[in-house]
């Protein structure tokens, strides 16, 4: 029984990592510009399709597709940001919702048209498949990979935000946009780059998620709810908060399914509601 506790923790952790990669971009951009981007998961979907295309049509190895998924998604997101989102930073959040939902609809239809409605298969390389026996625990190799990979990405992200000039600008903008502008920081420019980074990470998350949750055109909508939950619980603009929330929800989801399968489907919502009632601004959130 003890072993299963660690097993559940491990699996939940891996799942949480996936949620983190998919959510962190939205949390930062929402915190920075108050821009409600419901199309965030569209970027995850784009990343997924990039990987699928490269692997199945071009024969690329899985790992090599990941950076491409990141870059392509980031570039596409910048195009969206510069042509559409930019005009709406000062619009009401309801208008922002409507625009980005419209974008989700368009992307879902486009994906269905280009790739069909079929589930996209992805065959991982042999060295990422199967499982390892570690101290009596069965650990999926892909999950180990996922955790290590996501931790490295998180580390890089935090380092970039903490120790670079650009990071300082972003943090200032998240803290107080008005003041940041006053200090001569190019908030719009910083935002565009942050937006691209966040979307790129979502694309990466989408590519990594295929093996665990699959990929079809409804991805852009199916994951939206989970991402919103992570962002809200974590607190806007807080990377640490998003990380903690993703872990917490990933682990409680997994533990709920293992120990209380009867209420497995309720648990993630109950956890979210109680966390938000306890801390309406999110675990690490400062603003409400």
């Amino acid at each position: 029984m003890i072993t299963s506790v660690f097993g559940v923790l491990f699996d939940g952790f891996a799942y949480g990592m996936l949620l983190f990669l998919l959510s962190v971009g939205l949390s930062v951009t929402l915190g920075m510009m108050n821009f409600v981007n419901l199309a965030h998961c569209t970027f995850g979907m784009i990343g997924g399709y990039v990987t699928v295309t490269l692997m199945n049509s071009w024969g690329w190895p899985f790992l090599a597709t990941l950076p491409v998924a990141f870059i392509v998604t980031a570039l596409i997101s910048v195009v969206f940001e510069r042509t559409m989102f930019r005009h709406l930073y000062r619009a009401s959040d309801l208008d922002q919702c409507l625009l980005t939902i419209g974008l989700v609809f368009v992307s879902v239809a486009t994906a269905a048209w280009v790739y069909g409605t079929i589930q996209q298969p992805v065959q991982l390389p042999p060295y990422l498949r199967g499982s390892l026996q570690v101290a009596g625990l069965t650990l999926g190799i892909y999950r180990i990979f996922l955790i290590v990979f996501a931790l490295v990405v998180t580390g890089l992200l935090v380092a970039a935000l903490e120790f670079t000039r650009f990071g300082a600008q972003v943090r200032a903008a998240v803290d107080n946009q008005r003041m940041a502008r006053g200090l001569g920081i190019n908030v719009d420019g910083a935002f565009a780059i942050t937006f691209a980074l966040g979307s790129g990470l979502a694309g990466l998350g989408g590519a990594l998620a295929i093996d665990i949750v699959g990929l079809d055109p409804s991805f852009a909508l199916a994951f939206l709810v989970y991402v919103l939950i992570v962002v809200a619980v974590g607190g806007l603009g807080s990377i640490g908060g998003t990380f903690a929330a993703a872990m917490l929800l990933g682990i409680s989801d997994m533990a709920g399914k293992y120990y209380f399968p009867a209420i497995g489907s309720f648990l993630i919502y109950l956890v979210m509601i109680s966390l938000l009632m306890w801390r309406p601004a999110g675990i690490f959130g400062r603003r409400t």
């Binding site: 559940v8 589930q119 298969p121 991982l124 498949r129 069965t138 892909y142 949750v213 079809d216 409804s218």
Partner: protein, 397 residues
């Protein structure tokens, strides 16, 4: 003020009196079929496969039957939405003047449309929805897919016969899953087996590690899994491999969706050894099916599946019934003609039960194996001419 109100009332009254029931305008030389299923959303893929099956049948057999041209009117149900299904069925009949309705990927939608079929006395072909009771809702309905008890009770019986004594069941937590669970458990227990544990996973669940770890911890001879298709089968396959479940000691069995083509592609060798019961697979060995699969691939660049064959055979029933009635589209005439139809389908011999209007067919037991480097479902056992066992148990009227 008062004059305005009177004017308004008069205007309203005129409008009402002007609306009679629109008369039934009808072209004599065509048969219109309202196709109602999900072309968009989460269930879009089954919808497009059914549609492909229909298209292929019409390509092979021409679009004219008994001197009448077949016209399809497609309507998107967009997912689980019986209110929409009912409206679309009503509109198909009222607005588009269709002669029959067909399609129906999901149970609630089929049930709602069945009301309309019964009320309007229109022939209805259920090409997919698999819950047993659906066909009882309209006396004008036939089904060309399968029923959940038909397949899963067969599997339960077979599992015991093959030596398993202790079973664990894991099903999706919604009605079809519950039905599958009930059917398997019932047959397995009736045969003499024991259910040592069961779990239901959330409908939208995408990570199965926790559930399978739990199942493995209980050491069953057989793990029965019911999944509704989509991304879940592949996720289950991967989780089974990851949890290190030894398929030689513990059989993993389920309804056919568990080992669909895309699922097998996704899970890779992890799926080797899974055993499923189903009525159709593109790997079924028969001349008829070989031709069907070849033509299907030529047109749609993918293999047909149970949805495709449901649509294909559905069109067969429509064509044959129309031939028998010589083009008469009256609901009573068509259903009478459809009852007892017997034919060789790509899936093997099948027929329409004259009593229940439900499908009668062989249920195959298949194991995932590698043939020419491809993972396929290889049939190694079958139960012949299985009727829907649920209706067999209903008190006879």
């Amino acid at each position: 003020m008062r004059r305005a109100m009177i004017g308004l009332a008069l205007f309203a009254a005129t409008l009402i009196s002007a609306t009679g029931a629109p008369e039934q305008a009808h072209a004599q030389d065509s048969v219109k079929i309202g196709l109602i299923m999900s072309y968009s959303g989460q269930f879009a893929d089954p919808g497009s496969q059914i549609d492909n099956g229909i298209k292929l049948y019409m390509k092979e057999h021409g679009d004219t039957v008994a001197g009448k041209k077949i016209e399809l009117i497609r309507k998107d149900n967009g997912g689980v939405a019986p209110d929409v299904a009912k409206r679309l069925a009503q509109e198909a009949i009222v607005r588009d003047k269709v002669d029959m309705i067909a399609g129906f990927d999901l149970t609630p939608n089929a049930l709602a449309a069945a009301d309309v079929s019964a009320q309007a006395k229109k022939f209805m072909v259920n090409m997919n929805a698999a819950t047993s009771i659906i066909t009882t809702k309209s006396p004008y309905m036939v089904r060309t897919s399968f029923t959940v008890p038909q397949v899963n009770e067969s599997l339960g019986t077979w599992a015991y016969k093959s030596g398993a004594r202790k079973a664990y069941t894991l099903v999706s937590d919604f009605s079809p899953g519950h039905d599958g669970e009930g059917a398997f458990q019932r047959a397995f227990k009736e045969a003499g087996g024991e259910i040592i544990g069961s779990a239901r996973y959330p409908v939208a669940n995408l990570d199965f590690t926790a559930f399978l770890q739990r199942a493995k911890d209980m050491n069953p001879d057989v793990i029965y899994i019911w999944v509704p298709g989509g991304p879940q089968p592949a996720a289950i396959g991967k989780a089974v491999a990851e949890r290190g479940i030894d398929l030689n000691k513990t059989k993993v069995v389920g309804q056919g969706e568990l080992t669909f083509d895309e699922a097998l592609k996704g899970m890779g060798d992890a799926g080797l050894g899974f055993i499923t019961a189903f009525h159709y697979d593109h790997n079924h060995q028969s001349a008829k099916n070989k031709k069907f699969v070849a033509n299907y691939n030529a047109d749609f660049k993918r293999n047909p599946d149970m949805f495709s064959v449901g649509g294909y055979d559905g069109m067969h029933v429509i064509y044959e019934a129309l031939k028998k009635t010589k083009g008469d589209t009256d609901g009573d005439a068509l259903i009478a003609a459809a009852k007892g139809l017997k034919w060789e389908s790509p899936r093997g011999p099948m027929s329409i039960d004259p009593e229940t209007r439900d499908v009668v067919q062989d249920v195959y037991i298949r194991r995932v194996a590698k043939v020419n480097g491809q993972l396929v479902n290889v049939e190694f056992d079958k139960l012949e001419n299985v009727k829907d066992p649920f209706k067999a148990r209903l008190p006879k009227q």
